[in-house]
Symmetry: D2
């Protein structure tokens, strides 16, 4: 961390600052020029509050050099993390496709889709039971019933299941779920993240609509610092000025995240684009860019899906997509 001081800082305030920094175990290198007065802090600065220093009267600016995340940082953990989900491995060269409907709608529907996506090569099943909807008048999910149906579908297909949590108090219902998903709108629900950090269960953490990569990694850090190191990151599009797609899929984060962290990185082209016709090309692009997996919405009857039918593809389209990505996968980019 570098602190740039204003000209002629008040002596007492300066001494207080130095003392306070030293009390945190940091070494200080002072560099004083004609117009510049700089302090370089050496040591573990991840716990130093940059806003606090910035607010000091004698400080012009503060710049971080080290990343503020440690557990998620590839620098301190150069090997790829491989996460085992009920026998299915993801990360470190293991590529997986998670598929299923936006919402669980009925026992028959989820089982039908589960069997179908499994046949096409999906290795995990997704399905929403608790649904975050912008409008209180929209379908809110089958909730507890939905999770039970997912568990039934797992029994039949043996596919591990992924489903989203919206609220700490629902945690007991997720006991048998294989991966708990944290949705984009919950990425900075810090109380929830803390609770998930206490579990021994993989977490699929989606990037928020307007969150930076650093914030995504800080949210992963919330979970990891609690002891749960099994976090899968997911890019699902960000909010920009462009309205031709529902969100803007930010694919360059795939290789960039792989350089910053050892955690697996997957891509959700369905929510990112909100357009069934773009799911295949964006899946192919994500694979080429080196994603560790895909999260894809598949519905047997998209026009009558209770939620997000617009972005769901049919089982036939999914089968076609799986073949197309299989050609690209062997040549996909890998971060070294």
């Amino acid at each position: 961390m570098i602190i740039i001081l204003k000209d002629n800082p008040n002596k007492k305030q300066f001494d207080n600052l130095i003392q306070w920094l030293k009390s945190m175990g940091l070494d200080i290198h002072e560099s004083k020029g004609e117009n510049t007065h700089i302090l370089g802090l050496v040591g573990d600065t991840s716990r130093v509050d940059i806003d606090l220093i910035n607010a000091l009267e004698i400080v012009e600016d503060v710049k971080r050099i080290q990343e503020p995340y440690k557990n998620a940082n590839r620098k301190f953990h150069p090997e790829d993390t491989v996460i085992d989900v009920a026998g299915v491995k993801i990360g470190g060269g293991n590529f997986q496709v998670i598929a299923g409907p936006c919402s669980v709608e009925s026992y028959d529907q989820i089982c039908l889709i589960a069997e179908s996506v499994k046949k096409s090569g999906a290795t995990m099943l997704r399905g929403g039971a608790f649904k975050p909807r912008t409008s209180p008048y929209s379908f809110q999910g089958m909730r507890e019933e939905g999770i039970k149906m997912l568990l039934e579908a797992r029994k039949i297909t043996n596919l591990p299941i992924v489903t989203e949590i919206m609220e700490v108090s629902h945690l007991p219902l997720f006991e048998d779920v294989d991966i708990i998903q944290v949705g984009a709108r919950s990425m900075q629900n810090f109380e929830l993240l803390k609770e998930l950090g206490k579990l021994d269960k993989p977490i699929l953490l989606k990037r928020g609509l307007s969150n930076t990569l650093q914030e995504l990694l800080m949210s992963a850090e919330y979970i990891m610092v609690g002891g749960n190191e099994r976090v899968i990151l997911c890019e699902r599009g960000i909010r920009t000025f462009e309205t031709a797609t529902r969100n803007t899929l930010d694919l360059s984060v795939v290789p960039l995240l792989k350089s910053m962290t050892h955690l697996p990185v997957i891509v959700d082209p369905s929510h990112a684009t909100g357009n069934a016709k773009l799911v295949k090309p964006m899946s192919m692009a994500a694979v080429a860019a080196g994603a560790d997996g895909l999260l894809i919405e598949v519905h047997n009857d998209p026009p009558h899906a209770l939620c997000d039918g617009q972005q769901s593809i049919t089982p036939e389209a999914f089968d076609d997509l799986m073949q197309d990505i299989s050609h690209i996968l062997p040549y996909a980019f890998r971060w070294e």
Copy 2:
């Protein structure tokens, strides 16, 4: 709602659509030109899922005419809502300033600031007990203790208190709080909103970092549809490409929201700008634009605030600000 059909829609799908729309109690006006085939839906379309229709194969596009919010809609409730907070009225021409520290840090601190801001004219006290922080290594608030200290400060000053909730299970701790604040990161924590809708207590709902006005009103609708009509909306800056300020304060939403809804609208210039020097001019601008109130961070020792010291102003600066806005208030814009 208007549905624009594709050329030569499949007859059976078309009949199904018509039947389904009628089953929701809607009247349908068909308009068929050479290249256009349009259905105009008449009736209560707020419960119609626009995404679902958009996903139908025979549909080219769907446009909403009516707003999807009802309880918050000024059309159905032309009079300004006036909210009574322990005797202090806000909205409908009643302007109030809520001031206090970002975080409650100690009994002495909160009482000192409370007395000071009251003397300058603030009519409510704010203070964070549960703090949403990007980093798990940053100060997370005094939590339960913090709320107790706020209640003590209220006892001394008689100022109603406002503090933020992060999680449904903390609700019992907020029983004596006068206004519960929903922070920007929780604006779409729908499970939390549903619970707040069951309370008989004013809610201060902040706009999310990347949320539209319509989404803000839909979140207000979540609370109101539950029976709690006492919602105060708060603009606190949105996330844009500009990094010179922490967020971009979107002041035009003040008159725009006033035209869309009957709920009070206040502005938080402290979080919006993240810069103590911009708090005064932006407070003055918000007043001129017709805000029903301000939410301002004041700290007796900003450089040593445990959180967000960079954007806090001193009690002296706050006193100065209160005088400056008092000159503008009588001439402020009012939506009619």
Copy 3:
């Protein structure tokens, strides 16, 4: 186009509107419900000024159904446009890579790079002679001299050359250039676009930093309406809140643009990411998503490039990239 009227529109204003619309040769279908009064306009609405109608007192809202671009619209020109650039074809299944330095720096430099990228498989040469730089203190390009050097490099390698124009009065200098590039900052320099529409020369039109796809196509329309139909569109990243990359590469526009227009669509991963390490994975992703070509910065000595060295790759890295994309190209997505 659909016009939604306010309740009980003034009779005289309504008659005036109807008359004015008819005078433009439009047919009008009126649909009148209890709460809705809608006019559907049938005919060529591309010349109707939507803002003008929106400003009328009796109008609630106006929605376009037809796209406002005609020449660029795939609906009226279903076949892919194939552009011939001095014998090199692009579009309609013809994939091309344009490579070269950000700036032309010397005769030796441009010839060296030209020969090198040709050997690796590039089929066109890029190089900036006129450089748009944020700061007046930065290198502004070799200008006229730079174009001469590019022409020399073409003589040696036979590669068609692409270079950027910044100003109408420079046009005579571009007479022998094979493709004239319109940079992101000039995408809405409408006077320049009009002049380029008079030429018989391909134009490479880059998307502006904050321009929508529709605006990009309207700028293409400016060129095409003048008679020059040879426009190549280029995605080069948009400006968003994320600062981890210089811009956010919006790859979903590749298939989306292919569905909207018949023009070739290429991708510039160098300017989009501003990071040499991301050029390869994003090139691979662009190819997988169905781009008709790539525009890549290559420099023999990136750290000493006079401009944008940060995002340039070496000839060796370029050679490696060309091999990697060659594996993906046969399986790339194609819009049908």
Copy 4:
């Protein structure tokens, strides 16, 4: 400027860097810790290319401390610049309102509006002759004729005139214009800026739709470095995800720009909001925040304006607005 080096930098590259920096007349302060190796550069770094250094293999990161603009920088010119426009002063406490139609449409129209806005207190007249329009099918302005009409309106009212330039070759037509406006889409038309720097005439420079304050000041620098120091900056809204207003008016830039530069700062609420009903409240807010002036669209018949009628206010509404801001002006914020 601070250069943060990677661990164990290559000795030869390090020596080369040091030598190169010294050759630019910079002093270097080295600070070397266990994990940090930092160079502090002392001297005039405004001409140092930060991207070039960033691209060096041995460099981890580079941070600017000094602003890259000099002529526009308040640090080197603490007094407010007051610009004299044909006897009308703006800046340094002199507040002016520039009003008029979006487009000049006829001699009668511009004279009528000019006389009307003068009566209400406007001190300068605006009117577009060359119009940048997204669509080639929209009205493109009266061009040369329009400027002549503006000059006639000036003769009658004595109001200095402001009109937009789109292209260097049109400069001779602007010889008698009092202020040349550079529109948002031309803010980074660097060749145009260079030509304007050679004139002895005030320039009204609008912020681009997605340009930062620093970029705005760098564009001002382009003009000032050429010798023309009379630049007026104008905030007119930026492009964000919010679509409820045409753009997002970023009012916090008013005090922020005043702290960064000595140049006058004005606000255009008409283009920023695109909504006639928001022009008054946003004008009032801009005045309260300390703007040096306003740029407001006024049209005698907004629904029939040939361009941007949606955001124009009537002469009556303008008169009302002028009274409302007159109450706020005496108490407006002033940067000290």
